[in-house]
């Protein structure tokens, strides 16, 4: 009996040490899934998802604690990629996608305080202190951070219009055809 207990204790101790050493030497830096998820996010650290930045959002996604529809500026495109990566079926038709947006400065209201420019993580603003600011459309991803900080409500969030070249047909009504 004693022998049995003793041998088990010895076994436990050795295995424990081996595992401890193994874990030290074979440790994985970070979570690979997290890195892959991070690569799918816009990386603009806009914080609209409620996390501090894209890294934290990716970590929460990897733990399964955040929905794939968490990124507002990423829209449906990012949600689709995330759900594919995570292998979860997300009903994206329910997901309310406002569609892509962009920030527009109403120049008569702008006092040139520069707050928006300091807030924008993609340097979409041009203009100097005390001067009217404008947004470069292609650089704006519609995160609305500038919209929130502007003291004069000079910034409007507008829907990016669909152009003739970008428009496409809807999916045909699909019954059980195939």
């Amino acid at each position: 009996m004693l022998l049995a207990v003793g041998s088990l204790v010895a076994m436990g101790a050795t295995l424990g040490t081996v595992l401890g050493i193994a874990s030290r030497y074979l440790a994985v830096e970070g979570n690979p899934l997290e890195a892959e998820l991070l690569a799918l996010l816009p990386g603009a650290q806009c914080g609209q998802c409620g996390f501090v930045g894209c890294g934290q959002a990716a970590a929460a996604l990897a733990r399964g604690e955040a929905p794939v529809t968490l990124c507002p500026p990423g829209g449906k495109a990012v949600a689709e990629k995330l759900s594919k990566k995570l292998g979860v079926k997300a009903d994206l038709s329910e997901h309310e996608d406002k569609g892509p947006q962009y920030a527009f400065v109403q120049e008569d209201l702008c006092i040139g305080c520069l707050r928006c420019a300091n807030e924008c993580s993609t340097d979409a603003f041009i203009g100097a202190p005390k001067q009217v600011h404008t947004v470069i459309r292609e650089n704006c991803h519609g995160c609305a951070k500038c919209f929130k900080v502007c003291p004069t409500e000079a910034i409007k969030m507008c829907a990016v219009p669909v152009t003739l070249g970008e428009w496409h047909w809807e999916k045909p009504g699909s019954h059980e055809l195939h």
Binding site: V162, L164, L177
Partner: protein, 493 residues
Amino acid sequence: MKIFPVRGGIHPDYRKELTSEKAIVPMPLPRKLYLPLQQHIGAPAEPVVKSGDMVKKGQLLARAQGAVSASTHAPTSGRIADVAMVTAPHPSGLPQLTIMLEPDGKDEWAELPQPLADPFAASSQEIRERVAAAGIVGLGGATFPSAIKLNLGSQNKLETLLINGAECEPYLTCDDRVMREYAAEVIDGARIMAHALGTAKIVVGIEENKPQAMAAMSQAASAFPNISVVGVPVQYPMGSERHLTQAITGLETPAKKLTAELGVVVHNVGTARAVHHAIRFGRPLLSRVVTVSGGAVTEGKNIDVPLGTMVSDLVAFCGGLKEPPRRIVNGGPMMGQPLPSLEVPVVKGTSGILALTADEVNERDTQPCIRCGSCVTICPCGLVPVEMAAFIRKDNLDGAAKLGVMDCFSCGSCSYVCPSHIPLVHFFNYAKGRLNEAERDKRKLERIKTLAETRTTRLEQQAQAKKAAAAAAAAARKAAAAASENPDNKASV
């Protein structure tokens, strides 16, 4: 000349007899013309006139912008009423910026560029500049700026200019009529284009159901030994660039490649005629021949229409509608797109306006696929429509992309033959739109990422520079303090 077989294809009911014997008639000037800034593939043109300006016929209204674009000119003299958003001749019904012109009835010409005295002594560049300045685009319906297509000789070794007179779409007879009535102009334009491209040979390909056009073109070409006029089998979609090239040369254009890589450049007969006008008379593209047909139209016609004419005016000129149409189509019934209403303008790419009855549209209920394989047999691109549609239905767009859905050119043959009436081509149009959208989104995301990273690096660098400056300042203060304590020790400063 030997004609090579082309894979797949269908033999729809052509119904060309409705208008094929109707000679081209000029359209009287309507009350108002609507000229969209985008009537071509590429960037919209930039307006150079504003509301209230008086313009003359042929005067530039909007200038081409960027590498791929086309200018637009005034089809008649008059006053610019407005530059505003007007519904585009597009199935989306979306509006686009459009120049509105009120004709003054004088039809007074502006001063036009001098015609080229001898086009065959001019350089290729000179001809291309003239063609670009005239705002000419592919009039077969593709509307790609022609001047760019005339530059393919600079990157490829070209042998043949292929003039496309196949006109394989049912109902349409406008190219047939142009060849019958203006064969000499088409041949002259083709010779000028061949000179610009540097091709020795010109081949005119015409479907064999147009014997009069064949005869007229052969007659006009008889003086030029380098031009051959050949009949090609009546088989939709023979008028597609790739398939016509294959019929003439026996070579298949690889996916995502241009026919130019096989030494062939294809231009439409209407485009050749427009080039003739631009080079010989300095006249920009102001009108085009449109076939108005279909069972719901009182009298089908071939009409020389000033660009910007409202489709409703055009239909009124044909005696109006004799019954409410089930569908109004812009172009032919196979590849044409439905129009949101009659209140849209005729543009450079409008080859036909069809008002089709319910009988002609023949909408039928969709049944489950019986896996008959007909769609696979007839696809002229060698695709597998049944499998692609199954993927798309299950939202597996990547799967459809792997099967080559992006190489589908929406000819509609598969939908046409499907005994279960599955809207196959609709699935492909949808999938292509979604895949293009995904590609644009990806590019945007990459751009945003780079911008965000650049900003982070810049902020870090600034912070570091600040730190370094603060450290340097502190060191300087320290040194200064030390120096003031010990003014004799100059070396320490």
